[in-house]
């Protein structure tokens, strides 16, 4: 009986303390925006956060930037559900698995919450807008063209990719393969390896691929963790120069490999700008504004926005940040992301 009394007293004390905490916090009517990433602890997303925070500060909005500890679709859904329950004005998601967010999107829209996707899309989910860093077709073609140029348009090549479900990575991969078939008849795509966006696994599967295909001349790595991992594998195998490596990653992650020649060209865009544009567009939608082609956003230095229907769903819209940027030994030092 005494134990019970102590337990009840403890509960009462906890509750009193909590009420005190809550009343201390002031209540104001700022726009609240949540950005949920695929997983945290990733350099690319950390760079996105920098841009996102800057935009939120300038707009006077509250920003919540978080995601699961690992690339886990079910765990990411928990974050999204929590944001819906907390009635954020806009939730911007980079979905791990585009197929599982549809019920959440519907629930959010029923509550008047704006749902955006960014970095990677879920075109069939009914989201309000996608903030796309590049035109996916253009990016896939550009990656294949870059590799083909480096190997003289001939030979076997492999692809290293971070996830079988991520819509953006697989969309780019598909168009790399399409470009190879249409334009480079002498180049053969022999294998796709999955890194799960984990460096160690990326290095292992790339090494296995190099061992299995001794005639490999090139590797395209489709995400910011797979490219440094593939480059590391090539370097460790002593194949730098013999196997051309290119793909999408950040200058900071790739600087060492670009400088020692393992990787001649790294392709990307500015994740800082992507984070900033996402927050700005979320803010506009949350205030009831619309986004149409040619829109000039106040405070956005990127000029008129290009808005178009998505390739996989004509009823869904996406905004394009801009064309991809190439990083080589000439300019890799001028960027810090």
């Amino acid at each position: 009986m005494r134990k019970l009394t102590w337990a009840l007293l403890g509960a009462a004390a906890l509750t009193a303390g909590a009420v005190a905490l809550k009343t201390a916090a002031a209540a104001d009517k700022k726009i609240r925006i949540a950005l949920i990433v695929k997983y945290v602890g990733n350099e690319y997303f950390k760079s996105c956060e920098i841009g996102a925070k800057k935009a939120a500060e300038e707009l006077g909005a509250d920003l919540y930037f978080d995601g699961p500890a690992q690339q886990d679709a079910a765990k990411q859904l928990e974050f999204i559900n929590a944001c819906i329950i907390k009635k954020y004005d806009a939730i911007c998601i980079a979905p791990v698995d585009p197929k599982n967010i549809k019920p959440a999107v519907e629930r959010a829209r029923a509550k008047g919450i704006k749902i955006l996707t960014w970095d990677t899309d879920a075109p069939q989910s009914g989201r309000d807008l996608m903030v796309n860093q590049v035109d996916g077709v253009e990016l896939g073609y550009h990656a294949m063209d870059t590799l083909a140029r480096q190997v003289g348009g001939k030979g076997e090549f492999g692809i290293v990719i971070g996830s079988p479900t991520a819509e953006n990575l697989n969309f780019w991969r598909k168009h790399i393969e399409i470009r190879a078939k249409e334009k480079y008849a002498d180049m053969k795509h022999v294998y796709t390896a999955y890194s799960d966006e984990k460096r160690d696994k990326g290095i292992d599967v790339t090494k296995q691929m190099i061992d299995t295909y001794p005639n490999l001349v090139g590797i395209i790595a489709v995400d910011s963790v797979s490219l440094p991992a593939a480059a590391e594998a090539v370097r460790q195998k002593g194949k730098g120069g013999a196997i051309a490596v290119t793909g999408f990653s950040t200058p900071n992650d790739m600087r060492g490999y670009v400088k020692d020649g393992t990787v001649k060209t790294v392709i990307l865009w500015s994740p800082v700008d992507l984070g900033e544009l996402t927050v700005r567009l979320a803010h506009r939608l949350a205030q009831g504004g619309t986004v149409e082609d040619g829109l000039e956003l106040k405070g956005w230095k990127g000029g008129k926005l290009k808005v178009q229907p998505t390739r996989d769903n004509k009823d869904a819209t996406e905004v394009i940040l801009g064309p991809p940027t190439d990083f080589t030994t000439e300019n890799v030092d001028t960027y810090n992301f």
Binding site: L21, D97, P164
Partner: protein
């Protein structure tokens, strides 16, 4: 009043206290019935796995492979869905895979006499390895599960249906455990194996049944998992076995076996669910959730034995 009855009441009070605290900090979010529904559905697999784990731990065993069994079952179900199997057939194959894995664990522990911690650690890697080979690193099904299998589409759209399925699984498991007077035999085996054997209990059969039941429950867990997430990969539900063990320990079941409480386990699951949900709503991030979970398990495990001794002494003092 028995020790476990009082312990469960204390757990329930603690659970209510945490819920009240979180509600006081953010009444709008925690008062939203949607949140409570989410809380239950997001921890459905944990509940089901923890029930199996309780039974195994009562026999003084442990099953580290539960997350691996769930993964393999879910991957096989995905494989089946890609080949347009019906909802019933897909669920059936998931349960069958779970049962087969559980049987394998049981045989390893009884026939081959491998200590449970070693056997199930090995099978954890074995089952995840099979998943990787089966899926070829893809997420199965490749097609959209919610488009291809109407049963899962219905489950995904309605959280109430997921809760109903969870309730049905728990009810079925509890019914079997109680009517088969299995629990008493399991406690006997865990308490003192030699004495149990001499009193005529088939120790091997009891243990084998514990692991097989757990395997079936993992298959059921896979069904619940696929209701929320439309595909499975070889690396899903990482470390779920640790949360299941944590829930069982919070519920008061002793690691050495012999004594425990199913109600306690479910309260333990509730506590973990509420804490994780609370920290999530308060935006404290996943790492703090893990740290807090680890902390309360240590406190609970450390306090359990002294508490039991104190309770026993108290009983002896009465005239």
């Amino acid at each position: 009043m028995s020790f476990y009855a009082l312990r469960n009441i204390a757990l329930a009070v603690l659970l209510a206290a945490f819920m009240a605290t979180f509600w006081a900090i953010e009444p709008e979010a925690f008062g939203d019935p949607d949140n409570l529904r989410c809380l239950v559905t997001q921890n459905a697999e944990l509940a089901v796995l923890a029930v199996g784990m309780t039974v195994v731990m009562l026999t003084a065993g442990i099953d580290l492979s539960v997350a691996g069994i769930l993964t393999l079952a879910a991957c096989v179900m995905g494989w089946a869905a890609d080949r347009n199997w019906s909802g019933a057939a897909t669920c059936g194959v998931g349960l069958a895979v779970g049962a087969a894995c559980g049987l394998f664990n049981g045989l390893a522990v009884t026939l081959l006499s491998i200590p449970p911690i070693i056997a199930t650690l090995a099978t954890l890697f074995l089952f995840r390895g099979f998943s990787r080979v089966l899926t070829d690193d893809q997420a199965l099904p490749v097609k959209n599960l919610y488009d291809v299998v109407p049963l899962f589409q219905a489950l995904n759209r309605s959280e109430w249906s997921q809760i109903a399925v969870l309730g049905a699984i728990l009810a079925a498991a509890t019914a079997w455990l109680l009517t088969a007077t299995y629990l008493r035999a399991a406690c006997a085996v865990g308490g003192n194996e030699a004495v149990a054997r001499y009193s005529g209990i088939s120790v091997d059969r009891v243990k084998w049944a514990a692991y097989t039941l757990t395997g079936i429950l993992c298959g059921a867990g896979a069904i619940l998992y696929l209701s929320r997430s439309p595909s499975a990969k070889a690396d899903v539900v990482q470390k779920l076995e640790l949360s299941a063990i944590a829930a069982v320990l919070l519920g008061g079941t002793r690691v050495q076996g012999g004594e425990g409480s199913l109600v306690g386990t479910l309260l333990g699951v509730g506590l973990i669910a509420v804490l994780r949900n609370g920290l999530m709503i308060l935006e404290k991030g996943e790492f703090l959730q893990m740290a807090v979970l680890g902390g309360i398990v240590i406190v609970s495990a450390a306090g359990n034995e002294p508490l039991m001794r104190w309770w026993a002494r108290r009983g002896l003092k009465r005239p």
